[in-house]
């Protein structure tokens, strides 16, 4: 869906639902996923509808992901750190009871 103008220095790897994605350290997780062709970031808790980032500046909250175990992270604001475990936030998210 999106491509990089300068496809260099992709030295970081993050994992989206287990899939390895090469990206730039420090860019937003949302940008990393979009340039890897991922359009469905999460599903809504009410209707289960798929969502993609809409505003990219932290106001729409449609880019919410589980990042390193924490739900409700705004992927458009969180910078990529090598090795990050990123998961699509399905519905109300996953929480361990204990």
């Amino acid at each position: 869906m999106f491509r990089r103008l300068q496809p260099d220095d992709l030295s970081a790897t993050i994992y989206f639902d287990g899939r390895a994605i090469r990206c730039r350290s420090g860019e937003s997780v949302a940008a990393a996923l979009l340039s890897a062709g991922i359009a469905r970031f999460r599903s809504t808790p009410v209707l289960g509808a798929g969502r993609m980032p809409h505003c990219m500046i932290g106001v729409c909250f449609d880019c919410l992901l589980e990042i390193d175990g924490q739900a409700d992270r705004q992927a458009c604001l969180v910078p990529v750190v090598d090795g990050m475990d990123v998961r699509s936030q399905e519905g109300a998210g996953r929480y361990d009871i204990q």
């Binding site: 808790p45 175990g69 924490q70 739900a71 409700d72 519905g91 109300a92 998210g93 996953r94 929480y95 361990d96 009871i97 204990q98």
Partner: protein
């Protein structure tokens, strides 16, 4: 000038419920609400339907209220009753962390048994775990009232409002009472939206109820507070009972939507004149700490909103329900001190009994307005 038989001041839950019961018994109440229905304590409280750990003076009223919650459909009809979002029988649990708190639970149950009440029971850690699988190991047990539950406060207040309207009551929003006078022809209630005359006035003014008292020279405590709640984003369903703290600051429940509403006596900054309140992060910290310690699942939760509601606070923490001590035809029901929601379905019914029959089957002496001096202080013997 509008003439009717009864004016209710205040469109909260108690005001709407009072109008409902008076209308049911043939009167034509008009409710005067300065903002919108359920704007303050009625609409924004935590929604706990709790008999657990109540002041002993409130227990008979609270038990009658519980029965009213369980038969809401008879009062409201099935659709409006369902709209209240009442979930009963899931229990409310006071969680004990320390040995002292467990000791207090045993003492409390002994006191309750001595008074003839058996709805509170002490539970051990195993039973606590069974009821609340998400609780942390540091919680030893506690006190449960199994019949308790929760409801949606804003929707509940709206349902009582709608039912009152169906029965012939009129609810006037954005109508502020600015004068209250008794003359030969009954009460004259002056508002910023017209003048009303009625034989009977019921004061359900919540945090502002003392102002109606002052208009007739009847002193009440002006004390009020802003109870604060914080709410998480939607989470998967993980808990049925409502849990509260014993010595720790704690109270939370999970709503039907999956959000977790956390309170427990966090105080906001009230602004009675502006009719609003600010929530204060510094004071939410302690509540957040307790849920963090007691419920590992909430360690990853996100607080999305907070809010605060203005509520009257009586020095003895029990409400004022009964006839005015200075004027005939004026009745009071306010001062629920932060725990009036559970009493919501019963207070209006009790008031209708008092007003129309002169008596109530439920003992109300502890709530009498006569426990205050003319200046609005609690009389020494009432302590």
């Amino acid at each position: 000038m509008t003439r009717t038989d009864v004016i209710v001041i205040g469109g909260g839950l108690h005001g709407c419920c009072t109008a409902l019961h008076l209308a049911r018994r043939g009167l034509r109440p008009i409710v005067l609400e300065k903002n919108t229905v359920g704007r303050h304590a009625s609409g924004v409280n935590a929604g706990g339907v709790r008999q657990l750990m109540r002041h002993t003076a409130e227990i008979p009223l609270s038990m009658a209220a519980m029965a009213a919650w369980e038969t809401l459909a008879e009062t409201l009809g099935p659709e409006l009753a369902a709209n209240c979002g009442f979930v009963g029988g899931v229990g409310q649990i006071g969680i004990a962390q320390s040995a002292q708190e467990m000791d207090w639970c045993h003492e409390r149950v002994a006191e309750m048994h001595a008074l003839g009440y058996d709805f509170e029971e002490v539970i051990d850690q195993e039973e606590l775990r069974r009821l609340v699988p998400s609780v942390a190991d540091i919680c030893r047990g506690g006190l449960v009232s199994r019949r308790d539950g929760h409801a949606n406060p804003f929707r509940t207040t709206q349902s009582f409002r709608r039912r009152a309207e169906q029965l012939g009551a009129r609810i006037l929003e954005r109508t502020r009472v600015i004068g209250l006078e008794q003359g030969d022809g009954g009460w004259t209630v002056t508002t910023d939206n017209g003048v009303f005359r009625a034989d009977i006035v019921v004061n359900c003014g919540g945090a502002w109820a003392w102002q109606a008292g002052a208009m007739v020279g009847e002193g009440f405590p002006k004390s009020h507070f802003a109870s604060t709640l914080m709410v998480t984003s939607r989470m998967p369903h993980f808990i049925d009972p409502v849990v509260i703290g014993i010595d720790r600051v704690l109270s939370f429940k999970q709503t039907e939507a999956g959000t977790v509403v956390i309170g427990g006596g966090i105080l906001g900054d009230p602004d009675l004149d502006e009719e609003t309140a600010e929530t204060v992060a510094d004071r939410m910290m302690e509540s957040a700490e307790t849920v963090y310690e007691f419920f590992p699942i909430l360690r990853k939760a996100t607080i999305v909103r907070t809010w605060a509601g203005l509520e009257a606070l009586m020095p003895d923490i029990i409400p004022v329900i009964g006839p005015s001590r200075v004027a005939r035809g004026l009745w009071h029901a306010f001062g629920f001190s932060g725990h009036g929601f559970q009493l919501g379905p019963i207070v209006g019914s009790v008031l209708a009994d008092l007003i129309l029959d002169g008596e109530s089957p439920i003992p109300l002496d502890a709530f009498s307005p006569s426990r205050f001096t003319a200046e609005g202080k609690l009389k020494p013997q009432a302590h």
